[in-house]
Each structure stands twice: as structure tokens, then as C-alpha cells.
Symmetry: C2
DNA sequence: TTTATATAGATAGTAATACTATCATAATAA
DNA sequence: TTATTATGATAGTATTACTATCTATATAAA
């Protein structure tokens, strides 16, 4: 079986669809490598052009500026995560299992490549952890939001919120809990690596502890507000 | 009673202490106004100099670059929050009350000015919400961390972690829960304002709902793991 | 009072960034 | 064959992020 996964994103993200040409795919591929390497602040289209063997102007034909390119990558990542979550929870009836699956997906470091040729998911995961927040922490969030540029993240958030609502229909903050879970998975990982005294995962360098932390937190709240029959604490 | 609060910060943050001169205090005052207005990306020392009526070179005598200035402001903010927390929890024995006080402090939008002349805490609060993450989301986090530039945030985090440990000594993740609380207070507020579909606070424009969300979350976890006598759910 | 020192203002300059514009060429499609 | 499109090559501009130097003024030390 040779399956190719192509994720189609909002066309306001780009001037020319990078998935539809060699140069476009090279831009995606090498921007991931370069941003991960030198960080988004130091990343410039000129440096990227040199890596690829094209010119600055060539890249500007695909993306208006580097922030749009970042948005593209971040949106790609969240769309991919939503796709994975849908796959993993297919035919699963139990809401608790769905939530646990979601936590595992977002809090486990991506290690392998997939059927997506030019996209290195592992590096992309690191980028989203380290730079993702910069995609919305701008003065033009609201304009970008109107253009639907945050839809993939919102969609994922809404999916998990659905699981939460199914698990405990009485819980008042399914969306906030969902977005919190996702953000915490990333920021606790970042802290663990760079500012460990903000966490309790000093020595453990795997993400397993983060998963336990998140599970305890999520089921702690969901089980402490009035909860469906048959569900009792499984987290302590 | 006329009390003046001066917060002394790590001297690696600046080249010349901005609290010790007229120009320095003007830099602090106007950088807060300007960053809040145009955002950190668009903010430059040249624009700031024009606001103040000095020159670019003048500002470079105080701060190496704009990132250091942001760090200064962010550190000032967290030091101030820790100070407020210590004040508010003085002579309070009950750990639950201390935690609730902490949540209220970090999740309530700062509205008033204090005895700190040139620092506008309300604007500063908005800056820390919108730009704070950029202070550590860089490729030089670890170098900055070695210079202790994140100490004020860590200190606040450790204080709240202490409250958590007192409240429930069996809970395994006091630091992660503490940093999560603080971050969530900010990011949920930011979402509420700009990306409301990531939250459950769409209409409510006050921070009260965020406080309830956080309280439920924190006590949900802390009461679901084994807990001290006399503490039962108060959050549902 | 003189002199040294520190602080700020004024001005200039430089490399890099974030673009925009134009022209030529090669590949492809009509 | 011609028109269209994608890319490459080159140039140019305003702004950013600095560094350097020189002068005037205020304050502190001798």
C-alpha cells in the first residue's frame, strides 16, 4: 500500500500553492529544517533561498512574508494532528479512551516520518512547540482570524472538546480545557527541556510524565464536577 | 503614607540601570505604552526615541537590544506579582485560601496604578499577556536562563507550588500545575479577547469565568489525588 | 575654582532585513 | 507557432539594528 497524504490548506496562507511545484515543496522542506535550526527570529527568506539554491524573490512568489510561512507550517501541523486523532479514535466508543488517545497524541514527541515526503514531522513538531505561539501573538491576530488562518487549531480543539462533552456533559469549560491541554502539552515540554524548574520533570527526559500530569489534570476536573455513571477516579 | 515601591532587577538585564535616571525611567514608561500600542515586532528603539525626544543611541546606552528591554519589563511584572501575592497572603494560614488568592491575582486584569510612578501596570499586564512568551521562546533561552533572567517568573511559580504542596503534599506535580495556572490565566484571557472559540467565555468579557475555570481545574486535580482531611470539593 | 567624570544630544555610518521591480530564459500548453 | 507560466538573475529601496564619534552640560572631586 503506497498512500500519499496531502494536506490542503486555506489558500489565503500563500500566494502560490507550495504543494503544487518542486520549488514550493523545497520551500516547505527546507524552511522546516532551517527554522528548527536557527529559530524563527533569525530565519530569513534570503538564507532559505541560499539553502535551496533559488533567490529571495523566488520565495516571495509563494509566501507574502515569513509569518505567513510560519502560519502555513503551523496549520499543516494541526491539520495533520487532527487527521491522526480521527484515525486513532475511529470506531472507539468510549469517551475516556478518546480523551486519553488525544492526550497521548499531543503530548508524545513525534519521532517518525510519515507518507508526507517533504515534511519532516519531527522537526515540525519542535517548531510548533518553540515558535507556534508566535503565529497568533501578533497585532494582526484578529485580521488573521477573520481569514480563518487559525481554523486547524480550532478544529482540533473542538474535536477534543466534543470528547470532553461526551465524557462529562455537565462540565462547563470543555473548550478551555481542550485548548489548555494542547497548550500545556507543548509548553510543559518546552519547559522540561529549557526551564526545568518550572516543572516536575527535571530528570525524566521522556514525555511520559507530561502525559500523566495531563491525564490527572483532565480527569481530575472532569470527575470532580458531576460525572456520568460508572466513571470514577482512575488517575490518582 | 507615601510609599514608593522600587523593584530592583538582575543587572544583566541592562547596561545602565533605567531606574536611576530620568531618561531611564522615561524609557521604561514609554516603552510600555509603545509596545502595547504597536506590538513588540513593530517596536523599535528609533520609534521609542522619537516618543521620548531622545536618540536611538541614547536608548542603546541603557539596553543592549529590544529583547533585553522586554525581559526587563516582564521580570518587573513577575517580581511585582510575587510581591503582591506575598502581601495578600500574609498571615493567611489556610493553603486553600492562599491558592485562591493566587488565582485571583494572576487571573484578574490589573486595573489600577500603584505607587510605581512611571510604570503603568495595566498596560504592562497586557504586554505580558500578549508578548511575554516571546521572552523565552528564543534560541538563546538557555543562555538567558544561565544569566538568571527568568528568575522572577520561577520565583512566583515556586511560591504557588509551595501553597500547592501544603494543600496536598501527595500531589506529584506542584511546579507544573503552578506554571500551568499562570500560563493559562494569560492565554485564556488572550483567547477570550481574540480567539474566543478556543474558550467557553465568548460573551463574558470579564475575567471571572477564567477564575472559576482555573479554580475548578486546580482543586479538581488536587482533591482527586489523595488529599488532606477536611478538604472536599468546593468547586463544582 | 579648576578639573575630572559622567550623562545626554547630535550626527554619521554600516550591514542586514524585508521587501518590490524588471528582464531574460526555459518549459509547457494552446 | 505562439502564448503563458515558472523560475532565475539582478538591482534597488526603506527600514532595522546596531556602532562610533564628537560636543555640550551637569555634577562631583580636588
Amino acid at each position: 500500500m503506497d498512500i500519499k497524504l496531502i494536506i490542503k490548506l486555506n489558500d489565503k496562507l500563500y500566494l502560490r500553492n507550495p504543494e503544487e511545484s518542486d520549488l514550493g515543496r523545497k520551500i516547505l522542506q527546507h524552511s522546516i529544517v532551517l527554522i528548527e535550526q536557527i529559530g524563527f527570529e533569525s530565519f530569513t527568506f534570503k538564507k532559505l533561498a541560499q539553502e535551496i539554491g533559488t533567490t529571495e524573490a523566488g520565495i516571495y512568489r509563494y509566501f507574502e512574508n515569513k509569518h505567513r510561512l510560519l502560519l502555513y507550517l503551523v496549520d499543516w501541523y494541526w491539520s495533520w494532528q487532527e487527521y491522526r486523532l480521527m484515525m486513532e479514535t475511529k470506531n472507539v466508543a468510549d469517551a475516556e479512551t478518546k480523551i486519553r488517545t488525544a492526550i497521548n497524541l499531543i503530548a508524545t514527541r513525534v519521532e517518525d516520518d510519515l507518507s508526507t515526503g517533504h515534511i519532516n514531522e519531527k522537526l515540525l513538531h519542535d517548531i510548533v512547540m518553540a515558535e507556534g505561539a508566535k503565529s497568533w501573538l501578533t497585532k494582526h491576530v484578529e485580521a488573521d482570524n477573520k481569514d480563518q488562518l487559525f481554523k486547524p487549531f480550532k478544529d482540533l480543539c473542538a474535536r477534543i472538546a466534543e470528547f470532553i462533552k461526551t465524557y462529562n456533559p455537565d462540565y462547563a469549560y470543555p473548550f478551555s480545557l481542550s485548548s489548555t491541554m494542547i497548550e500545556m502539552a507543548h509548553s510543559q515540554y518546552f519547559y522540561m527541556q529549557h526551564l526545568p524548574s518550572l516543572t516536575d520533570f527535571g530528570n525524566a527526559k521522556s514525555g511520559d510524565e507530561i502525559i500523566r500530569f495531563l491525564e490527572q489534570m483532565v480527569f481530575g476536573v472532569l470527575d470532580s464536577t458531576s460525572k456520568p455513571e460508572g466513571k470514577k477516579k482512575k488517575t490518582g
